[in-house]
Amino acid sequence: MNWIGMWTLTKREVGRFFSVYRQTVLPGLITTTLYILIFGFTLEKRISEIEGIPYTLFILPGLMMMNTLTNASSNSSSSMLQMKLLQQLPDILTAPLSSFEISMAYIIGGTVRGFVNGVLVLLLGILLVGMPIVSPIQTLGFLLVVSWAFSSMGLFLGQMADSWDELAMMQNFFLTPLSFLGGIFYSIQMLPDWAQTLSFINPIYYMINGIRFTVLGVSDSPPLVSFLMAVGMTLLFTFSAVLLMKSGKKIKS
């Protein structure tokens, strides 16, 4: 293992998004604050509690999850695509780094960004509305696993993509809709049967309910299923991203 090489690339990946924290950290915090203000001060009076939990609290874990998974996936995908487009990838591909080491550095970079964003929203929730946390360790653990899963998905997509347009499409037509339909703002028990069934094939439904369980102690899906889904996605996307990197199909000619 070229540990120093891998560590260097990891530092670069993490340093990259911290150096532009206004684009990578602040937006999630601002949107979440807006949600809390809008729902907390206006809508909450009209929407009754869900499963015994005030509405603003009910949506917070989902918002946290959406923040985490968008940030995790967009870090590795956009960094990979950017390096491709800016002619930086050759520096890494011609260095004595293995495909595995390169993949890990990218994935860790995205995981850190996803995790940091999730934790900041969590803190915001505690600060602004005094959100109680049922199991803090499990909350952080679950955030970490989901960050890794979506960061490795991002690395896979970043290798596949040839333009910003393609990445934006993934985000806008896939990640964001699935997050909203995954039950950030509602319990699926409020949906008609057919829509409930549809939710079961949405992987993000399990992520949102998993984190809601660790934070609030309520969940539409069994917690174990949520956890297994997250681990399954982690394995699937880590393997796919590393194997695609090894094959060089989309990054070498």
Partner: protein, 312 residues
């Protein structure tokens, strides 16, 4: 016998439809200053990128000090430093930081790399630009950064892919001086270029590549001696395209009002050439017959100038 620094054996490569390399074999010895010369699209960069692992070859073998570049890539890549033809951009980090990253990829800690990077920045005239972003550097400065990046892990082999493309004459001469110094320090250098002058000036050995094949190889003066030809260079005004037809039987290039012929016997050809030119309204300003250059070698091998596109 120790293994050569670089050995290519029967390299073949196609990019969906373009047969870029058609069996390239080359040996470059330790400490040699080697030039790979060829027109645009000849396959120079492809050859180099196979060595570095950026391009996946279809057939053949590439070795560094006798070790395979695929199976033993950690060893081979550690011994190579590449100044790529394509210049990179970066929005996030300053020059110095980028060099430390680069050193890190090769397994060097910040501490180990520091004195050497300091020396490199000074040597390449980049010290005052250490905190600049790449986009703030001039084209010539970017080329220097590219070279610094290639040298950051002090490799035994330095690969320069058209390292002086797009820089002015003064800059070019500075770079040449640097390349010579590196060579004197014992580094093996593989330079690709389509500036004949650059190859003649620097290289001990050259290979000429055209359309994915090596068509000649040797020391520059051997190559020029082998060919029993000479060059005639004519500076003129009043050229027009229709004159091309009149020279069907000659091997020549025309560029910037400068005609260059490759001929067997200047005494026999010169009167006829002058005749044709004056009959077609050209004013000859200057005539030079010279010893054959690498340009003539290329011209007589391929029938076109080295500055012209391959495959036409």
């Amino acid at each position: 016998m120790t293994a050569p620094a670089i050995r290519f054996t029967d390299l073949e490569k196609s990019y969906n439809g373009t047969h870029a390399l058609k069996g390239v074999s080359l040996d470059i010895n330790d400490g040699q200053f080697f030039g790979l010369l060829g027109p645009n699209g000849a396959g120079k960069t492809t050859t180099i990128n196979i060595l570095s692992g950026l391009v996946l070859k279809d057939k053949g073998k590439a070795e560094v000090f006798g070790r395979d570049t695929v199976n033993e890539y950690r060893f081979t890549r550690s011994n190579i430093g590449i100044a790529a033809q394509e210049l990179p951009q970066d929005w996030f980090f300053p020059v110095e930081k980028l060099l430390f990253f680069q050193a890190g990829y090769y397994g060097l800690t910040h501490k180990t790399a520091e004195p050497y990077i300091e020396k490199l920045l000074k040597r390449l005239g980049l010290a005052s630009k250490r905190n600049a972003r790449l986009r703030e550097l001039s084209g010539g400065m970017k080329r220097r950064y590219q070279l610094a990046k290639a040298l950051v892990h002090d490799p035994k082999i330095v690969i320069l892919d058209e390292p002086t493309a797009g820089v002015d004459v003064e800059f070019r001469h500075d770079m040449w001086k640097l390349f010579k110094e590196l060579h004197n320090e014992g580094k093996t250098i593989l330079l690709t270029t389509h500036y004949i002058e650059e190859a003649e000036m620097l290289c001990e050995d050259v290979a000429i590549i055209d359309e994915g094949k090596i068509i000649a190889q040797g020391k520059p003066n051997e190559l020029t001696k082998q060919s029993e030809k000479s060059g005639i260079t004519i500076q003129l005004t009043g050229w027009n395209e229709s004159i091309h037809n009149k020279f069907n039987l000659y091997t020549y290039t025309f560029e910037d009002n400068r005609l260059h012929f490759t001929v067997k016997d200047p005494e026999e050809s010169l009167p006829e050439i002058i005749n044709i030119l004056s009959q077609n309204g050209c004013h000859i300003q200057n005539i030079k017959t010279d010893k054959i250059t690498l340009e003539d070698v290329f011209l007589s091998l391929t029938g076109r100038g080295i500055g012209e596109e391959s495959g036409t």
